[in-house]
Symmetry: C3
Amino acid sequence: MKKLLASTALIFAAGAAAAETGVTISGMGRFGLVYYSGNVAPTSDTRVDARLRFNIDATTETDSGVVFGGRIRMQWDDGATNAGLSAARLNVSYEGLRVEVGNANTAFDSAALLYNSEVGYVSSSAGNSRSSFYSFSTGALPLPDYMAIFASYSMNGFTGQVSYATPDQSGATVVNEETSIALSYETDMFAVSGAYVTDGAGIADNDVWFLGGAYKGLANTTIGLNYIEEGEDGVTPGVKLGTTIVAYAHYTMDAWTFKGYISNNDYVGNTTDTGFGIGADYDLGGATLAGGIQRDYAEETYVDFGVRFDF
Amino acid sequence: MKKLLASTALIFAAGAAAAETGVTISGMGRFGLVYYSGNVAPTSDTRVDARLRFNIDATTETDSGVVFGGRIRMQWDDGATNAGLSAARLNVSYEGLRVEVGNANTAFDSAALLYNSEVGYVSSSAGNSRSSFYSFSTGALPLPDYMAIFASYSMNGFTGQVSYATPDQSGATVVNEETSIALSYETDMFAVSGAYVTDGAGIADNDVWFLGGAYKGLANTTIGLNYIEEGEDGVTPGVKLGTTIVAYAHYTMDAWTFKGYISNNDYVGNTTDTGFGIGADYDLGGATLAGGIQRDYAEETYVDFGVRFDF
Amino acid sequence: MKKLLASTALIFAAGAAAAETGVTISGMGRFGLVYYSGNVAPTSDTRVDARLRFNIDATTETDSGVVFGGRIRMQWDDGATNAGLSAARLNVSYEGLRVEVGNANTAFDSAALLYNSEVGYVSSSAGNSRSSFYSFSTGALPLPDYMAIFASYSMNGFTGQVSYATPDQSGATVVNEETSIALSYETDMFAVSGAYVTDGAGIADNDVWFLGGAYKGLANTTIGLNYIEEGEDGVTPGVKLGTTIVAYAHYTMDAWTFKGYISNNDYVGNTTDTGFGIGADYDLGGATLAGGIQRDYAEETYVDFGVRFDF
């Protein structure tokens, strides 16, 4: 006697000023194998990876078309004894404008193209930023009194977004506040994106620049380049985490998508300055088989393979 | 690919003895600003307030019309690192009778008119009872072995309800059991309500009386008076928390509702015996903008302003 | 303004290769009284029992008919301050084959007939296995890095299932891995079932055999016999928990189902080697009133009575 949520859009009340209201649950699941050559005994190099994520979203629309809502995420990852709940995000949007409060997204973390070089079943890349910055927290907030505010505006392919996050709005803890901004512009042929965060993750002088571009003009192919001027990790003040440059390409052929990247980071603590990875996704029509092989700056090898699905 | 719950009533199976069964999720969200002049440094006077609440309700109806069900609440408030789950309430109802078990409502806390003087975005009032008593717990139960039973009966405008709550049904902890009763009668023109709780919140000699009346006969206006003979706080046995009297009025004009109250409490620890507050709600048709200004018995000022919505 | 999940099957998109996708919430609730004569003061012999369980299930179907999904369970039992979330199970199935990963079912725990002698409102029996073995965990996993894999295949009344569970897949903790297998065959007249688990619950030499048969050929009656060669408890290596044999019968008459069993276990620590129990269920058409009286091997009496419902 299972109850199933109707997999339909919201049912509108009759009439012109109809208001939407309801709760939606969507999410993703994945399971597969992950290998990392750099694990230290007794931790084994290979493990079964699994994740199940439910996004629980509330929505209410006023007569004038302003949409209020909120989200709590429920998630389990292997390695945890129980699934957990995130803190909540409240949001309000009207036409192209959107504001979030609480466990909000941040401008830098949600910058377009920032994570575009990722490959594999788990989606990861040595070409991602090595710096810390706040984002929507799936687990616990950084501090109990953390409070973030995010605003974005989209129009005709242009998106601008800003965010402000205070780790402790009650004022008792001495941690810096993070501010970030991101701008992007996208057409059918190309996309450009830039972002900046200052005091990322509340770490003094952890300022990060990002510039990225992608070109979609070739048949079935996307190529892109990301440039990240990294910040500091707060452990050794004054020492930057280097500059990260990554070039990547995606090639689609029938149900297959092939991905690859090569990255460079010149942080002084690296074993090697070059990282690279290749991956392939196979679309099952409702789920995706994916795998990838990568080498990181510690010259270790990372391999993953498994299945992902959205619902 | 979001899934949306149909915002409709339960779908009935065909036939006369159709049984309802299903799970519903409803709730509320709010975000705004809260100022309190009495906060002690380093706690700042102003903070961003946010809450997201999901009530997850199960329902099953037997062929003879008895409805069984239960609720778990999922909620996040600013100041917590993660959303949390309440303990569950089980319930059974048949026509006007309803019984709850577990994390049940209590008769005193759910007495009609008890919280009617509240104003503002967060809904609060210096005219509320200062005494402690049990209620449905959104967070953790008072003790792991807490168990409450509640019964109510409604007919023709009359409602009678009783509750019993033991903080520790296993018997190991020495805390008193709370018993409460509430009666109310309502017509289109007026409402009266009375309630009594003994050993509220398991505190010996914490006995509280409540009497309230509201008159709705004036156009667009409700006026009311609440009288509360407060109990003890358990810290200083024998010292009552005074008597609380509050007069309040609501006035509705188009989308606006204006609210105000003036209260008196004669507890010996007060800086002043007079509290008051005014507030205004503006109905956006699916959400509500609300704000309020209040002064409490510590002679401190409390201001809130924000948006609330139900879903 | 409650939102109700449609109590219908998934809504299919038009077309032949339509894919199902969505989230379902089902579960059960119960409340009643439980008495056990063997409780030690100050724990009282009688308590109010209550449980509310929500199974949150995700489902996605690929174009070729492979179904991916996952489950997180949300549950509250009396005695806990808050409801909790289980770890997640990921699953994939195609025709008669099903594989689970993570907080998976185990072959032994889900062996057919294993729990068939249970009676009463809570469903329990002295004829159940006294040995420990893993199962889907409603609460916390045994260890954070616990990982289980389960596979089952069903065809024409035959079901075969195997499972493997490692308490710590990272390899740091010295606990054994559990492996189990179960086979069953069922017709309209009878059912047979057998299962074996080695190193159950990660306890060395905790090997358990189960054989069971049930006969449904008599009008309104099921009779059955279970034989369990118990394992060890890990406290006293080399000492088996005995052999458990239980004979049981169910008799259905209109809305009533009467149940009874008599069991024998020859563990050296028993006060008596004989356990027995009787119970009755009354179907309310959407909910069930049930009660039972049992005696265990400590010669103590257990009584329960209450209502259960599914949704």
